[in-house]
């Protein structure tokens, strides 16, 4: 599973700060850090314990198959909130909670356009703080597709995951008796054969693009793996390595 880029015998003497020995040792503990896109934010940090792929195969960079992600093009969002309504309808989200929101920003100092809409949802992080914090593994990162899932039977309702999440993506659902959050419509749609999430399908302005990051032919792959238009993630400093990318243009 570990990705060893220097096995061809060319040690990293150029960097000067990290010796090749250190780099190999780092890789040995199984952390695969790939990709330099999205401002360094497209990173797959996967523990060596997750042996999903045989060594050497290309999708090794993105260890999930499919590696679901979402690209949100905020310059196209018009705040109609059809995505929010679709999410509520598809996933029975109660009125006191939300799985996705469209936030609104007014910048008085801006010229011409002063308003901006920013959709937010669970980022299905690659290094999820919620998964780390849950005492009983009621929330876990699915090994196949990378979605951060909930096992409602185990949840004790301590809400440490709600506190841990840097994106305010989780809430306690009284009807389920457990924490609820966006699961990329896995339970309601993907597991039943649908190819995309409710929010992405219902957006009239093609703002949300849902896809498989490990497939080079997928639209999200092409949107992210380019250097002309800026691609970023929210709260990169939290270190959660999210799978939801934002861009303009």
């Amino acid at each position: 599973m570990t990705f060893k880029p220097f096995e061809d015998g060319k040690p990293l003497e150029v960097s000067g700060t990290i010796s090749s020995l250190d780099r190999r040792a780092f890789l040995k503990i199984g952390l695969v850090v790939t990709g330099a896109f999205a401002g360094g934010a497209v990173v797959s940090a996967v523990s060596a314990a997750e042996k999903v792929f045989p060594r050497g195969s290309f999708p090794e960079k993105y260890p999930y198959k499919p590696h679901y992600c979402m690209v949100i093009r905020v310059d196209r969002c018009i705040g109609c909130r059809r995505c929010v309504e679709a999410c509520v309808a598809a996933n029975a989200v109660p009125d006191y909670g939300w799985r996705t929101l469209v936030l609104e920003r007014e910048e008085q100092a801006a010229i011409d356009q002063r308003r901006e809409f920013i959709p937010v949802l669970c980022n299905q992080c690659n290094n999820p703080p919620c998964v780390r914090a849950c005492p009983v593994r009621a929330t876990y990162k699915d090994r196949k597709n990378g979605i951060v899932m909930m096992d409602n039977r185990k949840c004790i309702g301590c809400k440490i995951c709600v506190a841990a999440c840097p994106y305010d993506a989780r809430y306690y659902n009284e009807e389920k008796g457990a924490i609820d959050k966006c699961d990329f419509c896995f339970e309601s749609r993907l597991s039943r054969g649908a190819k995309s999430t409710a929010c992405a399908v219902h957006c009239p302005a093609d703002v949300r693009i849902f896809g498989d990051l490990s497939d080079p032919r997928d639209r999200v792959y092409r949107l992210i793996h380019q250097l002309q238009k800026p691609v970023w993630v929210l709260k990169k400093e939290a270190g959660a390595r999210p799978n939801v990318f934002y861009m303009k243009g």
Partner: protein, 277 residues
């Protein structure tokens, strides 16, 4: 008989077109489109500033009747890109292109429910009657707030529905949640002339303080010319009947009326009968 008919017809011929012309002179200041999705706010004011005239848009692009466009099936962005509706100018040449700066026109919903009750709003809304009336300007507020800021929470989108009394001014209701003096950049309601065009007359009725044999009947008209509203309101007295509790210690302590009616300077209150009749 004929003469009367002639006069009647002349009168009709003159007045009917005038009323029609009157309507045409005042387009609704804002039109909120909620179809095919929520929502886009069109402002006549913004567009008239650009040197356009009525016929720029209303000679084929848009009906005169507000919101007629959104009943059409082709009222969507694809049509705009082809030059229909707004796209006739918003093509990147005459004005910014329709496929840029989306949120400049699109208002969103501010939540899951949009205010669909008043898609067309008037530039000026009259609040109140007589000497105290206020002419509220939608346009001056539109820059700083959106429809949802006031509607439907604070005001029903219906002219004449709000009854705003003096007492509501310091209760943070209606306009006064923002115009309370506590919000930065927003003038306080105590600056009467900002809203009330004419000076607000004081209440004419007598105000009774106290009960039984201690009743004091206060008349504004003997006080206001001398002191002005600000002298007593809201510092000494709230704008609400019945809230002031004046006890005998207050007579000595210089509170309420006795800020002025003190021993030195004003007419002393030792002459009890002056107020307590």
């Amino acid at each position: 008989m004929r003469k009367r008919m002639l006069i009647l017809c002349t009168a009709l011929i003159i007045t009917v077109p005038l009323s029609g012309a009157g309507a045409a002179d005042k387009p609704p200041a804002g039109i909120l489109y909620t179809q095919p999705l929520k929502s886009v706010l069109f402002s006549h004011g913004d567009h008239l500033q650009k040197g356009t005239s009525c016929s720029t848009c209303h000679s084929g692009l848009f009906d005169m009747e507000a919101l007629r466009a959104q009943t059409r099936k082709d009222f969507n962005m694809a049509a705009l890109y082809k030059g229909k509706y707004c796209g006739a100018c918003h093509n990147g040449r005459k004005a910014f292109a329709a496929d840029t700066q989306c949120a400049r026109c699109h208002l969103g919903t501010r939540g899951r429910v949009a205010a669909e009750d008043a898609p067309v709003y008037k530039a000026t809304v009259r609040l109140g009657r007589g000497g105290q009336r206020v002419a509220f300007s939608h346009e001056s507020h539109r820059k700083k707030a959106t429809c949802r800021t006031c509607h439907p929470g604070l005001f029903q989108p219906k002219e004449g529905a709000a009854r705003i009394g003096m007492a509501d001014h310091d209760r943070n209701k209606f306009c006064f949640g923002c115009h309370s003096g506590k919000v930065r950049g927003v003038f306080a309601w105590s600056d009467c002339s900002r809203c009330h065009g004419k000076a607000v007359p004081a209440p004419k009725e007598a105000i009774r303080f106290g009960k039984e044999n201690r009743i004091v009947t206060f008349r504004h008209d003997t006080h206001q010319p001398k002191a002005g509203c600000q002298a007593c309101h809201p510092g000494l007295f709230a704008f609400r009947k019945g809230t002031a509790r004046i006890g005998f210690p207050d007579h000595m302590g210089g509170k309420f009326c006795f800020t002025c009616h003190a021993q030195k300077g004003g007419a002393a209150f030792y002459t009890c009968n002056g107020c307590h009749k």
